[in-house]
């Protein structure tokens, strides 16, 4: 029998490394213990997969160090009764069985630190096929047939960019991977790099061959240290095997590979800003045209794609463009990976064919809400996207259909919200983000986002004025028209979608000075319901400003003059006796 422990960032943060050490301390043979990347069932971490000699899997979830002895005995005797309580439920297993995994096909299965594990799973066969049997034009044709579109958010046809870079004059060209996954609430790219780095390398090398580039560069966020470590390791292994370097697989194609760590700037997800950053400058976008395909990194023809886009490439080369295009809708082909988080029961990585609905992802796969509150909205596309309300839950996952709601497909962040989330507060959260991340080059973005943030701050404090909503809308449209790059042009989306679908919430804040979700602290009051209060004194003890008075076993009272609305009493009460109004 052998053990595989899920060791993506999430798994490690949940304690997977402690579990691994505890297993070794419990005398499990080190040769039987290996690791894998992100299995995708993040809410069940740490996860330990036990395979018997017939490769039958027993998946153990939410394992901690104290379970090591039981697992060790299971390994020794084959009797699983001791680990019965750790086994994944059938319901939870459906989270994976209902998915279709292409970009994530090896994630959580193979060891990301060993190239042999990747080649045993068929890895690098697509690169060999491309280099030995296909011309660059044929590769581009296959990608065209597949209908693969940029998974970073914009959804631009991949073959078109590749072809434009191929057609550009010049000997020296660059292929760049954008792994600057900056959308708050998105972690698909991190999972791919941490769990299957060779798949990214293979997809990039095929892309480099197609456009005629001799240099491949990955720009990774510095906030992803484990991804950088595993990618460096994978590059070293591939170089040693001759898969990176001169005359790859005996062909005329040669390519080197470098990693550059970003230094923390959301705007660097914009391709020209990313190029500026690669060159060691402030990450400020360039005017387009010229597009990177004509003049990019060091002013040479360059092509930039996102991690997930590359992660699909080797599968497409091996299985054909038609197989990929068979999945999805008319305008959106293949699968898409989503990072489903927030108030959803099963949060993790979901890859499904385009054409499924939001309901399929959030309720069928995600299991619905984790609280007893109702589903309110889902945020897609991060600061560039928008909030889609509950009544549009049957919207199909397709670039066009999602765009029609005012949100975007985005890179794959899907943050689920219940009734306790204030939508004005949500808009303020994103504007606070974009105002801080605006690079300052153009006025519309630099000052426009700041002015919008100030208005949203006023509204959430109950200081909104008649006409604020209209003024916000006007600002939104002028920023969309006037901003230089994608960051500014899409920054108004969170505001526009929340006004479109939750206008009544804005009005409640402005006209009645009320926050219907009970989130904006300036607009709520905490009260104790005398009938429910048992006089346990816990709230009074927790109050940092001594605003709660009362004696043991008698109902307590909050002095609203003194109360700073920190909510500590509300979260500490065990009898639901404290309400927000």
């Amino acid at each position: 029998m052998r053990i595989v422990i899920g060791q993506g960032s999430c798994g490690i943060a949940a304690g997977a490394e402690k579990v691994r050490k505890a297993l070794l301390a419990a005398h499990v043979n080190p040769a039987d213990v290996s690791i894998t990347g992100c299995i995708g069932m993040c809410w069940l971490e740490p996860i330990v997969d036990v395979y018997d000699d017939n490769n039958q899997l027993t998946r153990l979830v939410r394992v901690n160090e104290n379970d090591a002895a039981a697992i060790a005995s299971f390994m020794e005797t084959g009797d699983s009764s001791a680990v019965e309580s750790l086994k994944v439920s059938e319901e939870d297993s459906e989270f994976l069985s209902k998915q279709t995994r292409i970009a994530l096909r090896n994630c959580g299965i193979i060891n990301p630190e060993q190239i042999d594990a990747y080649t045993a799973a068929g890895g690098y066969s697509a690169l060999k096929k491309a280099l030995c049997d296909l011309t660059p034009e044929e590769v581009i044709e296959i990608i065209k047939t597949s209908g693969l579109a940029g998974r970073g958010g914009a959804g631009f046809p991949t073959w078109f960019k590749w072809n434009a870079a191929r057609q550009s004059a010049g000997e020296e060209k660059y292929l760049i991977c954008n792994a600057d996954e900056g959308d708050p609430g998105a972690f698909m790219d991190r999972a791919v790099i941490e769990s299957d780095p060779h798949n990214l390398i293979e997809g990039m090398l095929i892309g480099a061959y197609a456009i005629g580039a001799k240099h491949a560069v990955v720009y990774v966020r510095a906030e992803y240290p484990l991804a950088i470590k595993r990618l460096k390791n994978a590059i070293a292994q591939a170089t040693e095997k001759g898969i990176i370097g001169e005359h790859i697989f005996g062909s005329d194609f040669s390519c080197d590979f470098t990693i550059k760590a970003g230094a923390g700037a959301f705007v660097c997800g914009e391709e020209t800003a990313l190029i500026e950053s690669l060159e060691g400058h402030r990450g400020m976008p360039r005017l387009k045209p010229p597009f990177p395909a004509q003049s990019g990194f060091w002013r040479k023809p360059s092509n930039i794609n996102n991690v997930e886009t590359f992660a699909n490439v080797s599968w497409i080369i091996n299985n054909g463009g038609e197989a990929f295009a068979a999945m999805g809708t008319d305008g959106s082909k293949g699968t898409k990976v989503f990072a489903v988080t927030g108030k959803v029961k099963r949060s993790g990585l979901v890859e499904i064919p385009m054409g499924k609905t939001l309901r399929d992802v959030i309720f069928d796969i995600g299991g619905g809400m984790k609280t007893d509150k109702a589903f309110k909205a889902v945020q897609m596309g991060g600061p560039s996207g928008g909030c889609i309300p509950a009544n549009l839950i049957d919207t199909v996952i397709d670039y066009k259909a999602l765009g029609a709601t005012g949100a975007i497909m985005g890179s794959g962040g899907m943050v689920v919200m219940d009734e306790s989330t204030c939508m004005v507060g949500m808009a303020k959260f994103f504007l606070d983000f974009t105002a801080k991340e605006s690079c300052g080059k153009c006025i519309h973005c630099r000052i426009g986002t700041k002015r919008m943030l100030e208005m949203l701050e006023r509204i959430t404090k109950g200081e909104g004025k008649e006409g604020d909503i209209e003024l916000l809308e006007e600002l939104c449209y002028s920023i969309k028209d006037g901003a230089l790059c994608g960051l500014g042009q899409t920054a108004p989306n969170p505001v526009l979608t929340t006004i479109k679908y939750f206008r009544d919430e804005y009005e409640a804040h402005i006209k009645d000075q009320k926050c219907p979700a009970g989130e904006c602290s300036d607009l709520i009051e905490y009260k104790i319901i005398a009938d429910k209060c048992r006089g346990c004194t816990l709230c009074a003890k927790n109050c940092p400003v001594d605003a709660i008075s009362g004696t043991v076993k008698n109902p307590h009272v909050i002095n609203t003059e003194k109360c700073i609305k920190c909510g500590k009493c509300y979260s500490s009460c065990r009898f639901d006796a404290i309400v927000k109004e």
Partner: protein, 160 residues
């Protein structure tokens, strides 16, 4: 916090490798920060001398990116995630707890030099939200109580 004399010889290796490679400024600054924990003024001047990039330009790049610091940080650097999932799962309460416990604001360091607090962009561990990273370790599913316990344990570990 005192600015002790900065041993610039520690930079020799980094500058030898990158000073003449074009486009390496950010990489050099990252290595410099790894060595000193921040970007000391003396180091910036040396980098300018060796690379030929004006100090004003180095400062322009350094201040543009959130990763770079110009002051030393505490023994424990708390990076509190400000991502969407954390926001939806009440990261505000965790921020308040840290501020109350350590009596510092975002960007500040405690008087004893033990803790620095920095609110950062999404750390990408959204399913464990709310999340913080302290130095290299990630702590997830935080509650005010759990946060207090972690800070207490680190304080005790530092005193031993």
């Amino acid at each position: 916090m005192d600015h002790k004399t900065v041993d610039l010889s520690l930079l020799d290796g980094v500058l030898a490798e990158y000073a003449s490679v074009k486009g390496s400024l950010i990489t050099i600054l990252q290595h410099t920060q790894d060595i000193y924990g921040y970007l000391p003024r003396e180091a910036i001047e040396l980098i300018s001398e060796k690379t030929g990039i004006a100090t004003s330009e180095i400062m322009g790049v350094g201040t543009f990116y959130t990763q770079f610091r110009f002051e030393p940080v505490g023994k424990y650097l708390i990076m509190l995630c400000q991502g969407t999932a954390c926001h939806v799962n009440s990261s505000e309460l965790i921020l308040q707890t840290i501020k109350d416990e350590l009596h510092i604001e975002d960007g500040q360091t405690t008087e004893d030099g033990l803790f620095s607090l920095k609110c950062v962009a999404c750390l990408g561990c959204c399913s464990l939200s709310p999340v913080m990273m302290i130095n290299e370790d990630t702590y997830g599913s935080l509650t005010p109580e759990k946060t207090k316990k972690i800070l207490k344990e680190l304080r005790e570990a530092a005193q031993q």
